[in-house]
Amino acid sequence: MPHTLAEKIIAARSGERIDGPGQIVRCPVSLVLANDITAPLAIKSFRAMGAKQVFDRDRVALVCDHFTPNKDIASAEQVKVVREFARDMGLTHYYEGGDAGVEHALLPELGLVGPGEVVVGADSHTCTYGGLGAFATGMGSTDIAFAMALGETWFKVPATLRVDISGRLEPFVGAKDLILEVIGRIGVAGALYKALEFGGPVVDRMPVEGRMTMANMAIEAGAKVGLFAADDKTLAYCREAGRLGDMPLAPDPAAVYEQRMELDAGGMGPRVACPHLPENVRPVEDLAGTKIDQVVIGSCTNGRISDLRQAAALLKGRKVDKDVRLIVLPATPGVWRQALAEGLLAVFMDAGAVVGPPTCGPCLGGHMGILAGGERALATTNRNFKGRMGSLESEVYLAGPAVAAASAVAGEIIHPANLA
């Protein structure tokens, strides 16, 4: 039978005949990952299972990125547990310190994920790799311990919601605005248990980094995966990352979709998600004039070089408003170095920004930009749940890098086109 992208990958990797959604299959995994928050629990479960060795020391990646550089004694103790485990197991891919970055920006850059692969990670934004055509999904630590020990997991084959995006994008409108629009339309449970599959002319033209931004937020609609076909752009990205032998991947033309959604993005302006759910999406114009105390540019959603270029283009020759703290966190050491070489970091610093190390830090209210009660942030991150970035009395608005940079200058939420 014809297959959706999700069905196609699961069928190829599991070797099972896939007859449609709902079927439960056991499936080998290509890569298993965890971070400094989730790995300690996974290690505890791994040991309780009686496992002595990981299934493949080249295919378990541990990235310490959430509370690093270690923010306090407790987080340092957690990282120590992860480091010692990585050493005991002889893991090839352990990252901490100068070679660590935000995991979902780092692993694609290192060529550790690619089209047609099955990736499971103890982090909900593992779905990011769907931007490269990987069936990648987040799980809890014990599921991950199981995969680390046995090299396999189980899935229920998801039904697919296909989203086709057409139209000519307006200036300052990008991948983040499109995924926010989709989440705004279908809601935070709109794709619960399902695969989101993106296509259409806008997606065909979209650079791979944008596709990863969109796939990253599939989980904010409840989806198991957010999938894109692997085309020439994907293969070029993977070659650049040092991978060999990746093949194109596309859904079958007669694939059966449970639901379809058409989005004509022509004429659409930038989008902002208001507190306290990613589904509270409104046109930026509706929020113009909303005062902000902090802007964060970074994260696994929008901390890549293309995001920093967009932000720098708006910040060049301008100053951040005196009542706003702008924090820029390039997502990986590679992005940091590239931004340095292109002069982007100088642009940020001249504008009055704090340029920090690659870390998830403020996105989850960990460190490096915590909000006080009554404060309001605009961030290029992925979640705006109550208290996500600090005090329960604080607020987080989500937007793309252009709106974030422009708003930092204006001191209030603003359409980048209206920046003086």
Partner: protein
């Protein structure tokens, strides 16, 4: 499993940052996490909870991060069973893996009131509200999840498999 306890109601889309805010994720100890359960929803929430009480939630319970600390915090607070309209998928897997029983009842969750005395038979899939006399039947636990529960959770299931290999 049979459970008797009071219902603590929460709304729709209760996320993992509400269940256990990230700043408390510096431990993996269930009791310690339990002492901060729902701290992101309402500070001090857990003080109203007694051993074997039941959490009754709306749609998409447990959405957000993959942190297993969320079901652990609920278990650590003394709550062995959650009854919800629906669950976010990562949380659903995590719950069973950690030994937290999750019952999905759809709109019937609205018939259970805050503070009501509930008697739950998880094997039969029956929830009796002793305060109102209402009964709610729930979907049986799917076959594959039962295998994991029968092994005492995913750790036990994996241990069995590892012995075989």
């Amino acid at each position: 499993m049979k459970v008797k306890g009071r219902a603590h109601k929460v709304g729709d889309n209760i996320d993992t940052d509400a269940i256990i805010p990230a700043r408390y994720l510096v431990t993996t100890d269930a009791r310690e996490l339990g002492s901060k359960c729902m701290e992101g929803l309402e500070p001090g929430w857990v003080r109203g909870v007694s051993q074997n009480d039941v959490l009754v939630a709306g749609e998409n319970f447990g959405c957000g991060s993959s942190r297993e600390h969320a079901p652990l915090a609920i278990l650590g607070a003394g709550i062995p069973v959650v009854v919800a309209k629906s669950y976010a998928r990562i949380f659903y897997r995590n719950g069973f893996n950690m030994g937290l029983v999750l019952l999905e009842v759809g709109e019937a969750a609205d018939r259970l009131g805050q503070g009501d005395e509930l008697e739950i038979d998880t094997d039969k899939g029956l929830i009796r509200d002793l305060t109102t006399g209402e009964s709610v039947e729930c979907r049986p636990v799917p076959g594959f999840m039962r295998e994991i529960l029968d092994a005492g959770g995913l750790v036990g299931y994996a241990a069995k498999r590892l012995v075989q290999t």
